[in-house]
Subunit: 113 residues, 2 copies
Amino acid sequence: MKASAVRGHLDGLLLSVLESGPLHGYAVITAVQERSNGVLELRKGTIYPALNKLERLGLLRSVWEADGERRRRCYELTDAGRRSLAEERSVWREFTAAIGSVLEPAPGPGHAT
Amino acid sequence: MKASAVRGHLDGLLLSVLESGPLHGYAVITAVQERSNGVLELRKGTIYPALNKLERLGLLRSVWEADGERRRRCYELTDAGRRSLAEERSVWREFTAAIGSVLEPAPGPGHAT
DNA sequence: TACCTATAGATCGGCAGCCAACCTATTGGC
DNA sequence: GCCAATAGGTTGGCTGCCGATCTATAGGTA
């Protein structure tokens, strides 16, 4: 399953894997993949623009880390990012509850008793 | 919440509300709205093309019902539609499980047992 | 030394899918 | 006669993820 399916919830995923500590872009991809048991395969063309957008919005902050000659851009949650993550989680629950109640209506004990 | 949020799952919603019997387009909108407790507000510009597509795919069949001078197009699930609905539900569960495990990781009792 | 692959960052055009805006027509209230 | 609600429909447009493509370093290997 690729990110096209997660349309609208990508930001939440990115914020979520950064909650436990800073990661660089490439590691974000593998973190999402691992935490979803290999189901979610985000692409570079998907996350780099998304991470940049989140930084522009002030939800992330980034620092260039030097690993020898190699440079890696590490992203970290800001306070606003943490608040946004909480909000995304709340929206996610509302969203799944709404779709779920249409897609899989409770079989209902409604046959009287 | 509008259908832009349900991107990719709209077909499942439509098939689902038609599971318990035929409905015309306008009634599909209200059915989805009711079953989601008013949360999901689909638009006409969203569902009519979608219902047509589902009929083209053989998942629905439609009949024009005459209510006096008024004509209403009623949609009904086909066998293929029922199979597709089952598939959509399965995809939905996989999808929510995947996003959920990234977005709200189990706090984990992982301290051994 | 040269070459290949994995890692790492980034950009951009393309496309899929939902939506707002718009049009037509009937029914019913005032 | 007029307006709102109900009912069906089309079309251009926007948003957001993806594939393709580019650059560069590190490490293996021959």
